[in-house]
């Protein structure tokens, strides 16, 4: 594991407790206080204290017969969370590839998190265009179709909390006025798609549609981003049809069926 250079920022009780947890392996699945103390060169009394807290929170379980401890179910739960996150959208990759190749525009699968739009997947489809939308990157919501199209379907509270904070003006076309953005969002809700031209970088256009999950909630967006001159009115219609078709297929992967 990477060790932090700044020793002052380390909380020793937490560090030691995490080291205790990491002693447990499939080969060494039960450990007593004494063994733990020896392996980590800690006093038995402090190990005892850490272990009690870990047990109270479900990270360790005591085997009453032997008095030894094993890992608790809290860790199984957290492991499932850490894993599933990456797997959820894995099946969507081929759809993105086809879209990107057909239109020579990078296709993106985005989610909204931490008040930003997050690029979960990106397929370039052979395009060599330079974009900041690398998978794993964040971007602002107010200036991107891929962000606005998710935000539009969030609660009024969430929308308010985004629009009431200062927003960056990236180009002369960036809309930062809350009222104007509210009107845009309401339009997006009725059109069920968003398009932003030159609002983040001049010369670039993004067109995006929402993706619903098994509860029918908009959880992500599917977006094609390219040069503004690639997206005239006629082409906008074609892109939109294809995006909608593919979003429907991806929603099915997530368990959403239109009733």
């Amino acid at each position: 594991m990477t060790s932090l250079s700044n020793e002052k920022s380390i909380v020793h009780s937490v560090k030691n407790a995490m080291r205790i947890l990491r002693l447990f392996t499939p080969k060494q699945s039960e450990l007593g206080i004494t063994e733990i103390a020896e392996q980590l060169r800690l006093s038995k009394s402090s190990v005892h204290r850490y272990v009690q807290t870990l047990a109270r929170e479900g990270f360790l379980v005591r085997n009453d017969k032997t008095g030894e401890y094993r890992l608790g179910l809290s860790l199984l739960t957290l492991g499932g969370i850490a894993q599933t996150y990456k797997e959820i959208y894995a099946d969507a990759v081929p759809y993105l590839q086809r879209l990107a190749e057909r239109f020579r525009m990078p296709a993106h699968l985005c989610i909204m998190e931490n008040r930003h739009v997050f690029y979960l997947l990106r397929e370039m489809g052979g395009s060599s265009i330079k974009l900041v939308t690398k998978s794993g990157r964040y971007n602002d919501l107010h200036c991107t179709a891929e962000g606005l199209v998710i935000l539009a379907f969030k609660s009024a509270d969430t929308i308010g909390s985004i629009l009431n904070k200062p927003m960056t003006s990236y180009t002369a076309f960036t809309v930062t006025d809350p009222e104007q953005l509210e009107r845009q969002l309401s339009q997006i809700r009725s059109d069920r798609y968003a398009i932003t031209r030159d609002t983040y970088a001049v010369g670039y256009t993004s067109i995006a549609v929402p993706i619903q999950d098994d509860r029918g909630e908009v959880v992500s967006s599917l977006a094609l981003i390219g040069e503004t001159r690639q997206v005239d009115a006629e082409r906008e219609g074609i892109l939109l049809d294809e995006l909608r078709q593919n979003a429907k297929e991806i929603a099915k992967l997530l368990g959403y069926y239109e009733s």
């Binding site: 380390i10 499932g80 969370i81 996150y85 931490n114 509860r215």
Partner: protein, 273 residues
Amino acid sequence: MNSKMTERVVQPMTRTPNSSLTNALRILKSFSIDHPEWTLSEISEVIGVSKSTACRLVQTLESEGFMFQIEPFNTYRLGASVLALSHTVAGQFAMFKDTTSYLKQLTELTGESSHIAVLDQAEVIYIQKEDSRHRVQLRSHIGRRNPAHCTASGQAILAYMEPADIEKLYASGLASCTPRTIVSLEKLQHTLASVRQQGYSISNGEFMAHIVSVGAPIFNKRGQAFASISVAGLNKRMLPNLPRMVSCVRQTSEAITESICARSKDVDIDKLI
């Protein structure tokens, strides 16, 4: 662990010397499938500590690989240590070591996701899962806890408990998840009695609207229902095929019971959780 219990214990502990550790563990436990990422400010709000304290706790967890930061927004996810340790926990359920093939087969036969679950208090925990191509159960994952009384996997185990124990377990009432959830103890007892009689359980939208699950118990040598197997999917697909779903689930549960009982060492129900 009963969440009510931890809450009661955790609150007064915040001023004891171990409060940093308690807070760090609460940070880890704040992650969920619906909230797999947290920013520092969110963490400090949820845990109720200052941002600088949250920062030190998070950096310590990060130093041991329990969390990692996504640049550049002070946003964190669960790290590789969590994954490694969860594999160790999964390995503790040795009795389910050979059941993966049964789950695969069940999913292949039914086309739906299948799960093995055990009971902890009034919740089921999924120990194994086989995804269907539909991925309907987006929020079901290994280690996920769901209320037992509204899922087929939970009802299949509860059905073999003494009615008096059920009464104790639900002394504080039954939580409602959908309009179809059983919320009266009397009705639950009645449902569990018929589950016991027929040997399988069905939840039709009782936990999530549109989702139907079918479950059956897994027994140890002493005849205790210590786990269950279930399939879950969209009602549109499940309901027209219900008789076939039921028979597939029952056959699989019998096969797993047989293979577990064929082993020399019995499953000790009290040592499971």
